[in-house]
Symmetry: C2
């Protein structure tokens, strides 16, 4: 994939990985065609989309009404972005031609001044830019810009890039501090990170300046959301008959204070991470220390106090939002797939900003657990919400679980997550390495061939392995001339006794740098091979004692994968299973739907509940319940709920 046009310093990554090529194949062969069908409403039983028709109507190619969410356009943009990555990985002229047609359609729907948004063009032409707090106009713009950048990088075609540049220029005319311009910024951040990507391609500093404007206006007083609310006559898009709570609850959009004054992750989780990805990118390009400090502070809060073991964030359904430090309920969690995707984008920007393996550890955790759990193994069903504990019987009756689905759904009315998974998997090559000066940092272990541009020349790195299942990764180097590059290997925080050798000579692998990487400095030449072994025995994970929902429970992790227990393997009433943490876990090969995956077996005990229906609810002075030995089967969390509806839990009661 050509990426000189993105922010990465490297020039080519070809994925050769067993695990990820299967996913990329699924994206190319199933997800993208399926999503194209969804956008065109040709999938039976899926919720209607109408997204392509909206563009046709806006382009005067069709009669009709706008249909869908106010941000319906973003589904088309995310599909195009996913197509762009797919084309870089697997050229496909029919798909490219289809995408070109969509781009032509978007061009026809673009207004003469550069404006693109079918909701406002078709349905509310007089309301453009009157409600940036609630109406996702800049959010949709951001996704379209991202698609334009990606499609240009993939194909070198400029049609969509020109459309989005013209649109960005229009936005730059509308917003700003000059007389007649609006002082606004998006309710749903996204355009910030997109403008930074557009800058990386175009090097046009108006885009970084516009991004900076949006970020620095955020949270200023008098508050812009109030100003525009008054100006439009106190109307609310989402509550036509009620209070405009998005305007009132400014922390929902992280707009309650300037970002450099914020210390706690709050509000809508996706908005937060999208915003922070943009802030971190801007901080790097502008060398802004204050923004860097804010990024570090907020990163630490979210990952040290408010993140699930699966890399999920956003612990409540109301507002799809953060709660407070250490409030991580497992069954009512929101943990949106998109929020973990945004967390990966934030992590990636932090890695670009400063090397620290913590960022990559979180990236890996979110990627291999929540993000992959967002999509079924068939590529056709998706989770928006990724709980860590599910009890389907109660979901049907107790409304605290209204947001939780025990099995993945075909398509959503609000379809943000499925195309977001597709674009992340398609662009996974962007997340493997970061390069700083003359150092290559290895962040993800994904077999691949990458040509990386260092300060002192190019190096081709051939990574091999069968991660996340097997523990040995090799890196072969190729270069035109010997190089004294620094190669920094991430030692994941789950790995306790790594081994490293160069050309079969061992290196002290306990000696991590302050940044969490093992740095190998030497004169490299073509044919050199680094072997990295990350022993992957299954491990117990214990919760921080402030995590009340996990008290007296353990989770199980092997390599980067968090495991769970499912009813399909272990029967009902998973809370009656107690794992014996004194006995080592065993690896076994999965079969059927889970073939190719490593499952785990654990010694455990079961509290008998066979007679429970006829027993009283409460018993006095009874003995502790009798235990029967039982062998637990654990499956990777990302593969749960592929075998029908059933109970699941990540945190298992400990004997």
């Amino acid at each position: 994939m050509k990426t000189e046009c993105t922010e990465s310093q490297f020039t080519h990554v070809a994925i050769k990985d067993l695990f990820w090529t299967q996913y990329q194949k699924l994206i190319n062969e199933v997800v993208i065609p399926y999503q194209w069908g969804a956008l065109n409403d040709t999938i039976d039983d899926a919720e209607p989309s109408h997204a392509i028709d909206n563009f046709k109507i806006a382009a005067d190619q069709m009669q009709g009404e706008f249909y869908g969410m106010v941000f319906q356009d973003s589904d088309v943009a995310k599909w195009l972005e996913a197509v762009a990555y797919s084309l870089s990985n697997h050229p496909d002229s029919a798909l490219e031609s289809l995408a070109d047609d969509v781009i032509e359609l978007i061009g026809k729907a673009q207004q003469p001044n550069g404006y693109v948004n079918t909701y406002f063009t078709v349905k509310a032409p007089d309301e453009k830019w009157t409600n940036v707090c609630e109406c996702h106009e800049l959010y949709c713009a951001g996704h379209l810009i991202e698609a334009g950048v990606a499609y240009y990088c993939a194909t070198q075609k400029t049609a969509l890039l020109n459309i989005v540049c013209k649109f960005a220029d229009h936005i730059n005319d509308v917003f700003g501090k000059k007389p007649g311009q609006l002082l606004g910024y998006p309710g749903h951040p996204e355009v910030e990170l997109a403008l930074m990507r557009l800058y990386e391609v175009t090097k046009d500093e108006r885009y970084t300046q516009l991004c900076q404007f949006f970020i620095e206006q955020r949270g200023q007083k008098p508050h812009y959301y109030d100003i525009e609310y008054e100006k439009r006559g106190r109307t609310s898009y989402w509550q036509p008959h009620g209070k405009a709570w998005m305007v009132e609850q400014k922390n929902y959009s992280q707009a309650h204070a300037p970002i450099t004054k914020q210390t706690l992750a709050t509000g809508h989780a996706v908005r937060f991470v999208y915003l922070m990805a943009g802030v971190a990118h801007l901080a790097r390009i502008t060398h802004n220390q204050e923004k860097l400090t804010a990024c570090r502070t907020l990163w630490k809060n979210v990952t040290n106090k408010q993140m699930y073991i699966t890399g999920g964030i956003g612990s409540q359904s109301t507002g799809e939002a953060f709660s407070c430090d250490y409030d991580l309920p497992n069954d009512t969690a929101y943990t949106e797939t998109c929020a973990s995707i945004g967390l990966i984008m934030f992590a990636n920007q932090m890695l670009q900003l400063e090397p620290n393996s913590d960022y990559a550890d979180v990236m890996e955790r979110a990627l291999y657990n929540t993000v992959l759990a967002g999509m079924a193994l068939d590529g056709k069903h998706f989770f928006y919400v990724n709980p860590l504990e599910v009890y389907p019987k109660a979901i049907a009756h107790n409304h605290i679980y209204d947001h939780v689905k025990p099995i993945r759904q075909q398509w959503f009315g609000c379809a943000c997550c499925p195309p977001n998974v597709a674009r992340l998997i398609g662009s996974i090559g962007n997340y493997i390495y970061t390069v700083k000066d003359n150092t290559i940092f290895t962040n993800l272990f994904i077999a691949s061939e990458s040509t990386l541009s260092l300060a002192k020349g190019e190096i081709k790195l051939i990574q091999k392995g069968n991660y996340p299942w097997q523990d040995t990764i090799s890196f072969k180097l190729e270069m035109d001339n010997p190089s004294d590059a620094d190669i920094a290997l991430r030692i994941p925080n789950w790995c306790q006794h790594p081994k490293v050798s160069v050309n079969q000579s061992n290196i002290n692998a306990e000696n991590k740098n302050g940044d969490g990487y093992i740095h190998i400095n030497r004169q490299w030449q073509t044919g050199d091979e680094i072997l990295l072994q990350l022993p992957m025995q299954a491990m117990l994970v214990r919760p921080n004692p402030l995590l009340r929902h996990d008290a007296r429970k353990v989770a199980i992790q092997r390599g980067p994968l968090v495991y769970c227990i499912e009813q399909a393997d272990n029967g009902e009433q998973l809370h009656n299973l107690l794992i014996d943490s004194s006995v080592a876990l065993k690896c076994v090969e999965g079969s059927g739907l889970l073939s190719g995956k490593t499952l785990l077996k654990a010694k455990a005990y079961r509290i008998d509940a066979n007679q429970a229906q006829s027993q009283p609810l409460y018993s006095y002075n009874g003995a502790k319940p009798a235990l029967t030995e039982y062998e637990l089967t654990l499956v990777p969390y990302f593969s749960w709920a592929n075998r029908g509806e059933g109970e699941m839990r990540v945190w298992i009661n400990e004997l």
Copy 2:
């Protein structure tokens, strides 16, 4: 209190109990005056009520608009009912005069045809009886009827009784199967049990027949809620701009099926128990086997599958409703005070229907735990919601707790619970005994003097003791002539080795009847004394293994009182305290606000969380957390949250 005019067979109960006279004193001296102030909006900081003003406006004594909930009138009715009980216990001419004035006001607000409801009279005169599903018109009627019956019994004054008879007669004209009558029945049951009480006073069978009509119409097809919905043009009182979900979700009002076809407690918990109290009463009076069977089935479902250890019911906030069997979350529980009051009324009716100590066990559990927890020790603050676990830090941020208050509130906009507590405590004498033919069943242990009418004459029973703190209860008998009455002593289900003696001769107290009582049949004469000893060592309670929220936890109960741990005694992070169930609990005397109460001490261990803020969220392969010995202090659940905001939990982690 004179009670020949209620359904009870006895004629006089005077409460002489230390525990309950304190509560009755609080009701008389604090709650009733406070609530009078609230009804008249003279309490600072309390939510506005306007309830008396609404009647003044309806009576043309004042200009103004109706304000408040559509069922605002019921607060006045419940206050009057509480006043009636208060007057029977403690005559107070000033209070009686005040109540007479209110009754006169209600009479002036009554329409010539008998109709009373200030919302409809003042605000929506053309909409009377057009929306019985949503609008609580019959619910308010029911509460007024209850007040009329109670006030007549307390004072022998007929003014309010005449008002409610005239109203009931009007309702009997409006509803029925004759041409021109409505086939409707209340969305919120209450009028059913009230009509049965009115029948007990008046012996007018039109009231049982009207009650029977309401009960038997419920759930018939075509559904009346749909019929009236169409007739009024598909409007909704609660959702003027949305769907009429109360009409759609018929199980919310237990109107999804005829009551004799229902087997699971579902929907709004208060509606359910109010309805069932009426059904049980009707089944007794009409000797209807089918309704009796439905009562037994639904009683078993609610108390064996859906009841908290505190006697709370309704495990979710949405719809203030039941969830499904065994779904009893402790922190998001709704467990409304009123629902437990209704459960007591249902239990009392079941006891009248058939003797079974199960009913009284549940009655005692709900009374001494959830109902008393509904009111602060100062009588001025109230809980609507009674969770079994509270973590105030998260309540402020996580919206799954929006309904949970960590401290009691002054008054509610929807003020159903405070006056309901007042009327129950005022009428507690009604729940002590049931009499069947020649048998006296002792249900509650409350020191009192009662004159009971048996088939073969009157017996005066003088009950003494210091329940729930002390374990010995005595019953002295007085009668004009020797009697062969059967005296049946309830042995609570928590009591394992009761002792009984008659005139100091022991009786085999292990030999319970099939109904759960120890029956003593002998020739009684004045001066005979029964001593009942119910040993009250503090006990561990274990949950049914299907209660996943309580797995590996124990609760503590002593006598009828469920205990809890509070932050005020045990510090923060109550989930890090593990009780050692192998060591006996100790009783200690409470002090300060808790003086006079028995507290408990338990051997326990604490997981150290002092350094937790600086530790990672998740740790690999660590040892089990270190434990430090700690002595837990437990307080009766009903007395929690009287010492400021803090954590609380009933179910304690077991070592």
